[in-house]
């Protein structure tokens, strides 16, 4: 049994990459550390369990990263996806510090690998964890245990008592029992609120019932809400989230990466009313996959259907769930409950608008439509070779953007603009400071590692003084 009557130097709420980077850094700096992970051991690690890589600045080829990826390009990529909704000094600091992230993670036992197949060709910008995020999490926990960090599973931090920006103690549920944890510094690394459907309903109404939560079901946002209610400054649009096109048949929670579908550029996509609603071939999929979750979320019943034919089957990664398959468009419509006449007309109109071109799956080819609204700008081929296929789509939410405000030392900012005396934050719970919208693959892990380390370092420095 863990002695919860003692006063720990540092309490960390959360159990993902950001939490453990903070815990390990603080412990290495000499602090006594307790990590409160809401999930049981088998499901530990938050969304980090589902991740695969970390985006890392580098000046030249490293063991696993090719070529170079410098600050200006990294910043440019970030500015583009966020459309300026970011904090430039904080973002640039994070980008610069991301250079050290792979080395730090390696020091914690994480193993990297060169990227191979099906990875959106990210080997220049992103360092891949061998085995993925769960292997990373396993390595971090082993390191944490070896360092003597106290790890509490099935332990949810429910409330932090805050007086004038100073956190005094935590009310937790520890293996189902109410408990208090005393500490000198607090680090919030407990993620967003994307798995809290009630909270999502506040902004999205009944549509929230149709959102699939891609990652951990433990991202309930309890500490986020609690801190904001205790006078911590908020940042980021509370109504917004990052979402991708998931298979509509995926589990409602924790389906992870394998539920995403990359068939959109090689299909036409219609909504429940059998209407196309966006250019499926606007750009290469790595640059567009992140907008399709939002697009589908805005459709009636939050559902869409990607229709293609036998020609397209080998252009995208094999899906987990087999597509609906039929000998005719009308039969396919019947299987998925769409109006057959309407779907035949959509496909016929599309086929008539397809211009001759040379198809190339990996590049922006010249296969496009003419006179169709919305157009399909690339990879437009006639859908005319049975069998015909349909992948049903739903929005899969990755994380929410609402965050606690932090400064460049990961210190939580109070609503009055003063830094908290002893509260820090790292990971998704503060990523909205930098990511106001959009996403860059592997940037969440960069933020988690960079701010986790800073938070751990600052918390340890604070308690030593």
């Amino acid at each position: 049994m863990v002695d919860l009557t003692q006063t720990f130097d540092v309490l960390i709420a959360g159990g993902g990459n950001a939490a453990l980077c903070a815990a390990i850094t603080a412990r290495r700096a000499g602090a006594t550390v307790v990590v409160a992970e809401h999930a049981p051991k088998s499901m530990r690690g938050g969304n980090s369990r589902h991740t695969r890589n970390v985006r890392s600045l580098h000046h030249g080829p490293t063991g696993v990263l090719t070529d170079s990826y410098l600050e200006e390009e990294y910043w440019d990529d970030l500015r583009r996806v966020t459309a300026g909704k970011t904090d430039e000094p904080l973002a640039r600091m994070c980008i610069r510090a991301s250079e050290e992230a792979p080395k730090f993670l390696e020091s914690c036992g994480v193993v990297f690998q060169p990227s191979l197949s099906g990875t959106l060709s990210l080997s220049r910008t992103n360092a891949f964890f061998l085995g993925g995020g769960k292997a990373l999490i396993n390595a971090l926990y082993r390191t944490a245990e070896a360092l003597g960090i106290t790890i509490l599973y099935d332990t949810e931090v429910q409330h932090i008592e805050v007086k004038d920006g100073f956190a005094t103690k935590a009310i937790v549920s520890h293996r189902g029992f109410p408990a208090r944890i005393k500490f000198k510094a607090f680090i919030a690394s407990a993620g967003g609120f994307q798995a809290n459907r009630e909270w999502l309903r506040k902004y999205w109404g009944d549509a929230a019932d149709n959102f699939q939560i891609r990652g951990t079901p433990y991202a309930q946002g309890r500490i986020l809400k609690d801190m904001l209610a205790s006078g911590v400054q908020e940042v980021g649009d509370p109504t917004q989230f990052h979402a991708v096109a998931n298979d509509a048949r995926a589990p409602m929670e924790d389906g992870g990466l394998a539920m995403r579908l990359d068939c959109v550029p090689f299909s036409v996509v219609v909504n429940r009313d059998v209407e196309r609603f966006y250019d499926e071939g606007e750009d290469v999929w790595p640059k567009r996959y992140a907008i399709w979750g939002r697009l589908i979320a805005q459709q009636p019943d939050q559902v869409a259907f990607a229709i293609n034919d036998s020609k397209a089957q080998h252009n995208y990664l094999p899906p987990v769930f087999a597509p609906y398959e039929a000998g005719s468009i009308a039969e396919l419509a019947g299987m998925i409950g769409l109006d057959a006449g309407k779907l035949e007309k959509v496909v016929a109109d599309y086929n008539a608008a397809v211009q001759p071109g040379t198809f190339s799956a990996q590049t922006l080819d010249d296969c496009r439509t003419e006179g169709l609204t919305p157009p399909k700008s690339h990879w437009a081929r006639r859908i005319d070779t049975p069998p015909y296929y349909c992948h049903p789509l739903r929005p899969g939410i990755t994380f929410t953007f609402l965050s606690v405000k932090v400064n460049d030392r990961a210190r939580v900012m109070m609503a009055d603009g003063t830094p908290s005396a002893n509260m820090f934050a790292s990971g998704e719970i503060m990523s909205g400071n930098i990511l106001g919208q959009g996403y860059l693959a592997g940037f969440g892990m960069a933020i988690g590692t960079v701010f986790g380390r800073i938070a751990g370092e600052e918390a340890a420095k604070l308690v030593r003084n």
Binding site: S42, M43, R49, H50, R52, V111, Q113, P114, L116, S117, G118, T119, F128, L130, G131, G132, G133, K134, A135, N138, R142, P251, D254, G256, L257, A258, Q313, H314, L317, P318, P319, V320
Partner: protein, 368 residues
Amino acid sequence: MATESATVAEARRQMEICNACRYCEGYCAVFPAMAMRRSFTEGDLTHLANLCHGCKGCYHACQYAPPHAFGINIPATFAELRNESYAAHAWPAPLGAVFERNGTIVSLFAALGVALALILTVALQDPAVLWSAQRGVGAFFRVIPHWLMISLGLLTFGFAIVALAMGARSYWRATGGGGGAFAPAPAAEAVVDIAIMRNLGGGGHGCNDLDEGFSTRRRWLHQALMYGFLLCFAATCTGTIYHYFLSWKSPHAFLSLPVQFGFWGGVLMMIGTAGLAHVKIITDPGPVSRKVMGGEFAILGLLFLIAATGLLLLAVRHTGAMGLMLAIHLGLVFAFFLVLPYSKMVHGLYRGIALLRNAQEKRRAVAV
């Protein structure tokens, strides 16, 4: 074609999830081989299962491992599929049923082998050879006559070779056949893969032998067992050459080649078998199939006993205990030859074929 087993269907379900995820591609040969396919026939799954070395890296790294609803557990599922493939390709076919209760049958054969050897010795020779010291040239044959030792050895080992060859032929056809003309490069790659146990490297840092931490313990122990086994085989071969071509009769001096091969081979086999059994006992049971464990422990036990009795025989060969020890040792060896095609030992054969096919496939994939 008979209807597919539940294990095949389960392996396909899991591979279809893995093929959409692919996080494990850096661990071993299975996942790149999987990624070359979009759908999985029974033959494909048999091939992938036999390509799997059971390192458990993919299980501990899996975001979909139990208690996740998807319940992905490739090491356990593939272990069961391998066992089914051993049964499916056993020759003669009815003996495939032996894999149902492999632990029991292997153990039973070992016991029967020892009993039979003792009974035969007593029946054919003066029972006193079992406890009176035999010395000098031909000492062993005064316990078990030379003609009997050789004919039993040739019969049992010859049968094993034929049965294994028939199994290999059936397996090769069922998992795809063809593969084009023999090419030296893939064959050489497969041999190196076996020699260094590349796929027990986990991509460089080792396997999840016990839990989510990495180690190379199982790789080293398996190497000890495999090379120990091969050294013992070399001992038999050199002994045969000595006997028939050089007319140097046993018992040979301790520093002679047959005894040196046998001694070090036996030591390595004992270390390997005992170590592997220990790993099996203390490992995290999550990615382990309980169904196949009996057969695995039985063959490890049998190999351990063969090595141990061989070494004991060497130790007591000038004493009155030699006769008994020789009969026990040979009984175990002949039993081993007989159950060889119906035991976990066949994994070496099918794994080898799977590695060869994989080496061929990789080259075809590059050539396309």
